[in-house]
Amino acid sequence: MSDTLEKQIGEWRSAVLQGRAVADSDADELEGHLREQIADLEAAGLTADEAFLIAVRRLGEVNQLTAEFAREHGERLWKQLAISRPDEERRQPIVTMLAIAAVAAVLVQVARLLSEPTVISDLSFARNVSLFVLPVLAAYFAVVRRMSWQRVMGLGAAVALLAVAVNLFPFVPGASTELLVAIHLPVALWFVVGTAYLGGDLRSSARRMDFIRFTGEWVIYYALIALGGAVLVGLTVAVLSPIAPEAIESVLTWVIPSGAASAIIVAAWLVEAKKSVIENIAPVLTAIFTPLFAIMLTVSVFAYAIFGLGREFDRDLLMVFDLLLLVVLGLVVYGISARDLTRRERLTDAIRLVAVIAAVVLDLLVLVSMFARIGEFGFTANRVAALGLNIILLVNLVVTAWLIARLLADRDPAARVERWQTGYLPVFAGWVLFVVLLLPPLFGFA
């Protein structure tokens, strides 16, 4: 083929690759098509130039083509989306974000001042603080996504219901149900944030997966900002405390909560804004840690199997295991969220399967001993909360293991695992609501 033709094909290819949802291999596929079409047309007597024009025309307008790829491969946008928007459009969300971050910073101070006079129960601040911050994040998304008023009212009503319930409950001082509410309420509110994030469109599995991705990236951004904040605070104290030791302390009690609250909004905005400049971080971390966790879990299973349970299990240990299952679930979910749904990744899938199975076996060991213990002492609020979460995670992981095994045997597409996880979100939401709203009355607010 002539040099001009090669140049033309090269230009066409790079135009196609401008579409962010078009992967290199897709461009290969399309280019192969183009070349074959050109060869056929040339064989029919056309000149190279004519053949190129007709072949390109038949493949379709480049931007329509890339739009079609974007529709089919939306998940790729997550990895490399960098839409070039006009300047004003980009600046406006920054202003919105900063305004809302400021609101969060102020509200958290309100929460602090409100709870200060009633020092009797230390937990009232912990119980309520998420109510002052996370709905602000939900509001931010409602504004950015231009949610309809009915949906906004719906979410507002849900938040109001939680706020009223949590504050009307007559908790016994030092009640463990109060601590459970303080832990679970932020998660319940996170689902409210999720609803706002999805603009109220809860039905689509792909959109829910976007929210799961968002959550992972947000956690990482928040941790990074917190690290930076800690360095800043540490240095400030070190530099200024020789001059004004008392003043520093009182200033920091104002600065730290407000900073922590506004960072929640800023982190969310960052996830949205970069989405991503670089490859997403959560999948990279999971790629590193999945094999390590698989090894750790397998070793632990053998250790428990050989040495038996050295001492009686207690609730704290069960909570450790809840946390472990959550981490394993996170590793699987974020590993899957980044995978190319059509490529086979046998080795990583096998490692994932090992990690999940080891976690399940380990957890079953704990559950067996836990049931023995409940038989002895009966149910308490803490045990119900820890056990319920454990069972919910266990069911999820058992099915996940089954689906990964089927995936390895080529019986199921990878999308099944994803759909299972997105379909399971309501179960988590339901459980968290149960702990916040029903568990305290069931156990007499003790």
Binding site: S25, L30, H33, R35, L59, F69, E72, A415
Partner: protein
């Protein structure tokens, strides 16, 4: 000669048509399109490029399996092969189209040349 087939109808036909072509044997994009043209006698206007997102969607749904191979000239080429699930889906599509055919045929009668006007 039949006038060009309506866009929505083409979209509805695309999945069963591609699956049916793959049922004849595994194939690749360009050859699938050539087969489409051959079967429709050129009446089915299809923007060639749109075939690929469709194939990728079928792959994601597990109806086809794809594998990179190479053409006789040594170029990379992606071959598609129908899966069991895909053949099941095709049977389903076929039933629906036969119903549609029967229904419309019942009212139009067996006149193959209405379009020559």
């Amino acid at each position: 000669m039949v006038s060009n087939i309506d866009k929505d109808l083409v979209a509805a036909m695309a999945t069963p048509l591609v699956l049916a072509i793959l049922l004849e044997g595994s194939s690749y994009g360009y050859a699938i399109l050539k087969r489409v043209r051959e079967l429709s006698g050129g009446d089915l206007k299809w923007t060639d490029g749109m075939l690929y997102p469709l194939l990728h969607r079928l792959e994601r749904l597990g109806y086809v399996r794809a594998e990179w191979g190479s053409s006789p000239e040594g170029r990379r080429r992606k071959y598609y092969e129908i899966t069991e699930k895909g053949s099941g889906q095709l049977v389903e599509h076929r039933k629906q189209w036969e119903t549609a055919n029967r229904t419309l045929g019942g009212i139009w009668g067996p006149t193959p040349s209405v379009a020559t006007a």
